[in-house]
């Protein structure tokens, strides 16, 4: 960790090949999510859509936004944003899903 901070302005960048591989993965996942959307999987369609989106977002966060190599603090900050959003959705869903009709 210390060696990466010795660089005056943040961590060493990932290699060009890594950048391009991430892009390839993102575009592949895009194709996958569009493809599965047209196959009837029942409730699994929604899960696949959201699941693939989460993976894509994680790729961008980890590599392009450099959470992998930058200070661990930034990882905590990024996760807390999503965690709080999850709290908002989960607890208000707890109301909507259990309300008597």
């Amino acid at each position: 960790m210390k060696t990466s901070r010795s660089h005056r302005s943040g961590p060493r960048p990932p290699s060009l090949a890594a950048n391009l591989m991430v892009l390839a993965a993102l575009l592949g996942l895009l194709a996958l999510t569009v493809g599965t959307a047209f196959i009837n999987l029942g409730p699994a369609n929604a899960a696949a859509n959201v699941g693939i989106a989460v993976v894509k977002a994680a790729l961008v966060l980890t590599f392009y936004m450099r959470l992998k190599t930058d200070s661990p603090l930034f990882r905590i900050v990024a996760v807390s944003g999503f965690a709080w959003l999850a709290v908002l959705i989960a607890l208000s869903l707890a109301d909507v899903l259990t309300r008597p009709t």
């Binding site: 901070r5 005056r8 302005s9 943040g10 060493r12 960048p13 990932p14 060009l16 950048n19 391009l20 991430v22 892009l23 993102l26 575009l27 895009l30 999510t33 569009v34 959307a37 047209f38 196959i39 009837n40 999987l41 369609n45 929604a46 859509n49 959201v50 693939i52 989106a53 894509k56 977002a57 961008v60 966060l61 590599f63 392009y64 936004m65 930058d70 200070s71 603090l73 930034f74 900050v77 990024a78 807390s80 944003g81 999503f82 709080w84 959003l85 908002l88 959705i89 208000s92 869903l93 909507v96 899903l97």
Partner: protein
Amino acid sequence: MNATPTAEQFDDPVQQREAATLGMWAFITTEILFFGVLFAAYTLCRVRFPQAFAAGSRHTDVILGTAETAVLLISSCLVAVAVREVQLGGQRIATWLIGLTAALGVTFLTMHGFEYVSEYHEGLIPAIRYLQTGPLSAPMQIFFCLYYFITGFHGLHVSIGVAVLLVMAKKTHRGDFNQDYHTPLEMTALYWHLVDIVWIFVFPLIYLIGRVG
């Protein structure tokens, strides 16, 4: 100018860079929650009106939507490579890459503009031109309200991003950034990636539900 300007409240450039990056991440967190309200509203309304949301989604243009997603993903990669170039000292290539990123942002907005126009002709815009009828037309308006709020707010972010990217391209061209100092460019890239991430979630939720069954 290039002698790594450090603001007077900081001890050294390392501290300054850390403060700026942490500030940017905290800002990104607030942005996640800004968009999050819309996504939460989407979730709660979709749970109540699954059919209307599926029907509304079928009115959107999945081909344009996919193309827009690809454009944003590629632009994200370009700006990431641009930051890398500057860190390694390649300012000329970086300028081009940043310019190209901004151009892709404009492409995205243009494509979305076409979507809005065709939706206007179809009569899908609540409060302005809404011509849908039938039992699902009322809750489908909720879907379209959310669609316009989310894509509109996202489009606003893309526009701001394009403007900032153009400024950064100019600064990179002028040689303001080098191996030692490029924090503003790094922050702009973070912002652009955030805009990308938001769209990564918008795309399946708006365009892909109800394509089958």
